[in-house]
């Protein structure tokens, strides 16, 4: 059974069909790519999976649970981690605090614990900070722990956002155009980092990306879409060679 299962998702905005009957699977430990030119419906698909957009038809299942009607935070609790196309770090908070917010998913202290300074409160804070530190350490970002997240250049911000998502201990990690705004060297480093995360943490990933240099070396399986419709899927090489994909990216030569 696949970890993330999208079946027949269709989204219409007025008369425009943004996504038309898309299905895809992400299995445990797999890195899956979703590619397509601008306007293909990638971001809408992404929003359907994360819960920002309710599909007109179709279902999204996470680890066997139907999450189609669930709000974003409930999906996060079920193990869906994500990053944003435009980095959404908490400006004004340190990098460590940014990560701690995510790590608090596993802690429980609430308003009453705050009021009474129950032991659970101190434990919550310590656990979250510890988890955040461990993730920073793992990604070699410990030197940024005390830096204001709002002041980071985009290359670092993307890494920190990735680290924050990892603090959720996601079973599936959704990455929305992680390479946008990165230069080729940064992109290269990012790709190797994702490979390393797969090798060590082993969480599955779904990459929405139009940069082929990210998708090709990383992905086990690639779905291509255009005008909201699935074009083809297969290994990166198969998809790259597929005539429809070539046509979608480069345009067709009409005889």
């Amino acid at each position: 059974m696949s970890l993330l299962e999208v079946r027949g998702v269709t989204v219409r905005f007025g008369g425009v069909t943004a996504v038309d009957g898309l299905s895809l699977d992400v299995h445990a430990g797999e890195i899956v790519g979703l590619i397509g030119p601008n306007g293909a419906g990638k971001t809408v698909t992404f929003n359907v999976i994360t819960g920002l957009q309710r599909p007109g038809a179709g279902t999204v299942r996470l680890d066997g649970v139907d999450v189609t009607a669930m709000p974003p935070h409930a999906r996060a609790r079920l193990g869906l981690g994500r990053t944003f196309q435009i980095v959404q770090l908490y400006a004004g908070m340190t990098v460590l605090d940014n990560l701690a917010v995510a790590a608090h998913r596993f802690t429980t202290a609430g308003l009453v614990a705050d009021a009474l300074r129950l032991p659970s409160r101190g434990r919550s804070l310590a656990e979250a900070a510890e988890r955040a530190r461990a993730v920073l350490e793992f990604l070699d970002l410990s030197h940024l722990a005390a830096v204001d997240a709002g002041s980071l250049p985009v290359g670092h911000a993307r890494l920190v956002e990735l680290a924050r998502a990892l603090c959720l201990r996601p079973s599936v990690l959704l990455l929305d155009e992680p390479a946008s705004g990165l230069d080729p060297a940064e992109t290269d480093a990012f790709v190797r980092l994702l490979a390393r995360i797969r090798g060590t943490i082993g969480c599955a990933m779904l990459l929405v990306e139009h940069d082929m240099s990210v998708v090709m070396p990383l992905c086990d399986h690639v779905y291509a879409m255009d005008f909201g419709r699935p074009l083809t899927d297969g290994t990166p090489d198969e998809v790259r060679a597929h005539p429809d994909v070539v046509a979608a990216y480069l345009g067709t030569v009409t005889a």
């Binding site: 935070h73 959404q88 202290a109 890494l159 946008s180 230069d183 060297a185 940064e186 190797r192």
Partner: protein, 678 residues
Amino acid sequence: MSLRLALALALSGLPLGAMYALQAMGIVLVYKTSGVFNFAQGAIGMAAAYVASGLGVSLGLPAWLAVLGAVLFGGVLGVVIERFTIRPAKGALPRTIITLGWLLALQGLVGLVFGTELGRRPVSLFSPDTAVRIDALATAFGWDQLGVLVTALAVAGGLGLFFRRSPLGVAMRAVSEGADAARLLGIRVRVVTLAAWALGAGLAALAGVLVTPLLGTLDTVGLVVFTIQALAAALVGGLTSLPLTFAGGILLGMGQPVIGRLLGSPAGVNELIALAVVLGALLLRRRTGRGDSGADGLEPAPLRPLPKGRAAGIAAGAVAAALVLPVLIGGPQANFQLAGLLAWALAVLSLVLLAGVVGQVSLCQAFFMAVGAYGAGIFMSHGVSFLAALPLGALLAAAVAAVVGIPALRLRGLELAIATLSLAFAADRYFFRWTPLVGKDTVRPLPRPGFTDEVLHGVAGARAYTLLVAAVLVLCAWWVASLRRGRTGAALTALRSSTAATAAMGFSVTSLKLRGFAASGFVAGLAGVLFSGLSHIAGYAPFDFTRSISLLAYAVIAGIGSVPGAVVGGAIVTLSALSVGGGSGEIPSGDAASVVTILTGAALIAVVAGAPMGLAGLVSRLRDRVASPPPAPPPAAPPPSERTDETTEIVIVTASQSERFGPDTSQTAQVGKKGRRP
């Protein structure tokens, strides 16, 4: 209800509706050209009505001259407000809060100059004799009603011509479409904005002068509450179109008597209807995506690391000693004054929690206090002891605050200010006369412990009660500080920065915001019970809308987001009351009250325009300056064409980052495309 009766009722609401329309058009005009919501609109009308009464009745000038003078006064006032207080401030919400300062200041000034006693005669342009009788509906119109209606129609028509024909009117329309574009076309935006304020305030003045004879009374409160009607009419018009706004006012005026009759004409039903219209229109606006996404929450105070360890211990000890000393040596009077101070500090703290931690604004905090006090009264009437009724009443306030928080899930910043202020107005007129809450006599006994002791044993009871209030304040301050640094605080801080990212981390945005509102309502409720306990009576007098606005003022003056600032805020309330002889934090009356209100308003204006972080911000800035030598002035931002510094920095960062990912990073890192911020 027969159709005939409905029609007659609707017609009877026509003149008042025309006045709503005039006020609302002034609000929309100012909002469209300057983005500021003028909450002082009703207060300007009130001040103008007093000026007209002063000119016409006291000085004996002819009525038309008195009215003209009052309208001119309104226009000049608008110019003063814009030029000297709005313009120096930055941001739509802070500027709107400045108009609240004017609301207070005008209320106080009028009270000081003209006195607050009732029975002052308004100037009337038209006689109340019957002008038209409509026999088919068994109703009649007086010359006064007809005159007001015709004047309003003429003014609206004149405005229509003004905006279509006159250069200034066309320029105003251009500015309201987009100030920057207008500026590029050579329009002097500042002059146009100033003119819009003059016109908007002039409309407010005209409406105020015309409406007073219809209402029959002239006081410093009624016409300020009138603002809620203008808010409702303006929102019906979508805050954009003046003709629609006019129609909204007329519709509201005609609808109110009909709906009011259907609801059994309870006291304050017009304000209740206006509140429903305001909330409905705001929520609808959000849903259809016409809200102002730009208008964000209050500028949160920078979250400083709170003092830890010994310093905090010494500070807490010093504060505790300062608080306990008067309790030990003072008599009952000193104890009550201190208890009043602490209760108000608690109220300001509830706002610090809401504004500083949750990042939401509330202009109905005193209403939550009243709910807590009345709630405790209800519980005590069922035999619950005071100490148990205290948290129970506060829980009721928390529940009400959570209900208020539901619209706040969709609204924020400016819109939330409109919604909560409308609630404060409606509370004054409706909820504080609603018997299930306030009882038959609008007061509920709240026999606190120590009351009988005082009678028997003098000061002992007063001391015990003061210590109770102090203990609750300390516990709540501890709670707020603890919450801010805890798990919920982290999530709330994150929420203010990015809603989407916080939801993506598994936090329910709905639950977080509602919990924030409930917690704030709980603290406000505690404050309400404890303050009311001082006088053994839960009543609404200390919790009117002026108090709600003042509480926000004190929170802003003391520094939103600062827990010690809350105590400073409470001290301001009490000291200002004491200095003018109010005693034990009671609401002072007469001239003294006016002076306090003026000072509060003036301080609010000064702080928002000059020191947005409040006193706490000033103190921490001072502390930073003492602790470290003044930093070198930051270099002026280079023009876009010369941003070499920044580019270099980013290249270096890129290189060092690349090194971290492995030894085989190619040298292209340093010559690659420069990182750009999204």
